[in-house]
């Protein structure tokens, strides 16, 4: 396969995943601001920070600004820009996608062009659902129609790397923005924020199902980092990325630096437990793991020539 094809597929996977995650962030923000005390909390700031959007200089961020930045802004990491980027990567590799996958990227792709912030704000849940549906349709089409060859592995790698990075960023913002003062850990406000975090990763129900009981920081970290039953858990993403890389190595008869890195990352996550993570510092663990994931991205790109 052409290296450029591999790159385009990888980024298609990443952008679809990012659009989906951004929609989840928007949903979280919208929900948080409907709860009491929203006016003083600056929930939208946290949301924008997680998405990596630079905050306005006056620091004032409301619903309109957030919707503009996360849903509609041209370029950057808005949902619209992500889907456009995914489509344009996919269009360049029209031949590498099945027709169902292409249609999932192409159908309705200009829908957001006619939407302005005011209208989007009125019907935000519809737009969020639309984004989830598009991402889900693409993933479904991929799972059911795409040959399990190297193209599939590159597409999947992009999605997994993005997913792991997004979960880690969410966890980190919890510490950097939502909760600068450590002394309130465990307080009522803290509980509320951990709950938002679960909401942002569509994990609240999963949490109750797995841990049954009150929301506890340790369990949330376990679910999002280490619990391989949870589809957005970093450990699961790492395992699956490792497996995709192993399949590529088997197919091409060649291992690279990225394979060692993936193994090391899986190993770290296999040996980790929440007790140690919390005693050594969650923030430190999350930052190091995020660095490892981003380094893995670069190593993959280098190994396969993109």
């Amino acid at each position: 396969m052409l290296s450029r094809t591999a790159a385009n597929l990888y980024w298609t996977g990443r952008y679809v995943e990012r659009a989906d995650a951004t929609a989840r962030l928007l949903a979280m923000g919208a929900r948080m601001t409907m709860l009491p005390g929203a006016a003083t909390r600056g929930d939208w700031q946290s949301v924008l920070q997680t998405a990596g959007v630079p905050l306005p200089e006056d620091g004032l961020t409301g619903r309109r600004e957030a919707i503009e930045a996360l849903l509609l802004a041209p370029g950057g990491s808005s949902i619209k820009a992500c889907f456009e980027a995914a489509r344009s990567n996919g269009r360049a590799e029209r031949t590498a996608l099945t027709s169902l996958m292409w249609e999932a990227l192409n159908d309705d792709w200009r829908a957001l062009e006619v939407v302005n912030v005011a209208a989007a704000s009125q019907s935000l849940p519809d737009h969020i659902d639309w984004a989830h549906r598009r991402a889900a349709t693409f993933r479904g089409a991929t799972e059911t129609t795409m040959l399990r060859d190297d193209r599939y592995d590159f597409l999947r790698l992009g999605g997994l790397i993005e997913r792991a990075a997004m979960t880690l960023r969410l966890l980190d913002v919890k510490y950097l923005a939502l909760l600068p003062e450590r002394d309130v850990v465990g307080g009522g406000r803290d509980l509320y924020q951990w709950t938002s975090l679960l909401l942002a990763s569509s994990a609240l129900r999963a949490y109750h199902h797995v841990y049954r009981g009150d929301v506890k920081a340790r369990n949330v970290a376990d679910l999002l980092l280490l619990n391989r039953a949870f589809p957005r858990a970093v450990a699961l993403c790492a395992d699956e990325a490792g497996a995709a890389l192993d399949r590529l190595a088997g197919r091409y008869g060649q291992r690279h630096d990225c394979h060692d890195r993936a193994n090391a990352l899986c190993e770290t996550l296999r040996n980790a437990d929440t007790d140690t993570i919390f005693s050594d510092g969650l923030h430190e663990f999350v930052t190091e793991t995020l660095d490892d994931v981003l380094a893995l991205h670069s190593a993959i790109a280098e190994a396969y020539g993109f």
Binding site: M1, S3, R4, R91, A92, G305
Partner: protein, 471 residues
């Protein structure tokens, strides 16, 4: 001359259209209109678009697709097919000759300056022996019709004629929407084209190729207006769709960068112009192209299809001499005549053209796409006079043809069936064998009375049926 309607003449339905007429009567206008909108949605959904950037509006547009098929009878096609293949052979023989002994120029059958002063003539190609002596591997021959037995060649396209993906997709859409129409097997299939194209390209593998030929399609990239077609053809052939940056030349061979490391390339079906093939050979200022590609080609390391310099056979001044070529190289009489053409480079023709501008179509010798032409009968006095000045300034740059009463075919327009002018572009493949898919692309001028069918000028397309012998 009376307008020839391909479906009805002298008040009766012509035999080839009997099936279509029955279908139109059954389906009714309102349903047809509805189905037409469905077809448009399908095209958009599949992504069969051409790109128009920088004009605002939708950057990816559809070529309007008319549901009513254009029908060619078996016997009509037999003659067309023979004529097209004859032309493709003659054009390739001419190209070989002009890059070798130039017999036809020495014999005085074609003025030398038309070749040697032609912008498309590439001195680099002189004396080079392309595999199979083929220069133009895909010849698009544009045909028009003016009566039951009157077909004319309007122009030849020897470089990279586009539109074949529409020929194939139009049929796909028709078969998907109206399966009943094809049930009795009377319409000859077109879906063998991609396999034929692949075989053709494999047949011209370079001397350096020792195993299964590796074919790629070279595209300028996703922003090119015909990108969909490039990816469609690569996909249907099972070939990689490459951009120049995916390729490099090493030790006389061309390689593509892949996830397994470098892999060799034997045949490049290029959909980029000569100028952008190789910055070392043609345009040092260009960032496009594959440095060293021409050298690899000329030393037998790779085949480029169509050959660089093949364009010398298809400009509008050379066109007038194709009947000469057929006689000179093949010793045959042309099966398909040219449209009568006046060469403004010749004084007698020039004065005739200037005296009769209102009745003629005048074209730039190197123009294409329906741009820069004058359709005399449909132009204002001011347009005619402005054009006259251009001709007088550079007579050699122009040719003129009588305005033909192009045949018309039934076409759906705002919920009614009307008559609109059509042309036909079949795609002839030249490798060790010559292959021709039955039919081609029918383009239709959607504006009432318009004779210009180019998609850039508001033309649409139709599915083209060649009927099998039994019908």
């Amino acid at each position: 001359m009376l307008l020839f309607d391909e479906m009805r003449s002298d008040g009766a339905t012509r035999a080839p259209y009997a099936g279509v007429e029955g279908w139109l009567d059954d389906i009714g206008l309102s349903l047809l209109d509805l189905r037409s909108k469905e077809a448009e949605a399908l095209f958009r959904r599949i992504g069969i678009t051409f790109a128009v950037y920088g004009e605002g509006g939708d950057p990816e547009r559809l070529i309007p697709f008319d549901l009513i098929p254009r029908v060619i009878a078996a016997a009509e096609w037999e003659r067309l097919s023979a004529g097209i293949k004859q032309r493709a052979r003659a054009l390739n023989a001419f190209l070989y000759d002009v890059y070798h002994r130039r017999e036809i120029l020495r014999a005085g059958r074609i003025p030398s300056r038309l070749v040697t002063q032609n912008d498309a003539f590439l001195p680099e190609m002189i004396g080079f022996e392309p595999p199979g002596r083929v220069y133009s591997h895909i010849v698009g021959v544009d045909l028009v019709r003016t009566g039951p037995d009157d077909f004319f060649v309007l122009e030849d396209n020897c470089r990279t004629p586009s539109g074949v993906s529409y020929m194939l997709e139009n049929r796909e859409i028709m078969m998907r929407m109206f399966p009943d129409l094809f049930e009795d097997g009377l319409v000859r299939p077109v879906d063998g084209y991609a396999a034929d194209l692949r075989r053709t390209l494999e047949e011209v593998a370079p001397p350096a190729c020792k195993q299964d030929p590796q074919v790629v399609v070279l595209t300028p990239g996703p922003f090119n207006s015909a990108y969909y077609e490039h990816s469609f053809l690569a996909d249907s052939m099972g070939a990689d769709l490459v951009e120049a940056r995916d390729l490099y030349v090493q030790e006389g061979r061309v390689w593509r960068r892949t996830t397994r490391g470098p892999e060799v390339v034997d045949v490049i079906y290029r959909r980029i112009d000569d100028d952008f093939l190789d910055p070392l050979a043609f345009r040092p200022d260009s960032a496009l192209g594959v440095p060293g590609l021409m050298h690899a080609y000329l030393s037998g390391g790779v085949t480029i299809a169509s050959a660089p310099g093949a364009g010398v056979a298809d400009d509008k001044a050379i066109y007038t001499y194709v009947p000469e070529m057929i006689d000179f190289y093949l010793g045959e009489a042309p099966i398909l005549p040219n449209v009568q053409t006046f060469k403004c480079s010749e004084p007698d023709d020039l004065s005739y053209v200037l005296d009769n501008l209102r009745d003629l179509v005048v074209k730039e010798v190197a123009g294409s796409g329906g741009y820069g032409m004058l359709v005399g009968p449909r132009s204002t006095e001011a347009e005619v006079e402005a054009y006259r000045a251009r001709i007088e300034a550079d007579p050699e740059d122009f040719i003129a043809q009588p305005t033909l009463d192009l045949s018309a075919a039934p076409t759906l327009a705002s919920g009614k069936i009307v008559s609109r002018h059509v042309d036909l572009r079949p795609y002839c493949l030249v490798g060790k064998q010559i292959r021709l898919t039955p039919g081609g692309l029918t383009r239709v001028a959607l504006r009432e009375g318009s004779l210009v069918v180019n998609s850039s000028q508001g033309g649409g397309v139709k599915d083209t049926w060649v009927l099998s012998k039994e019908s």
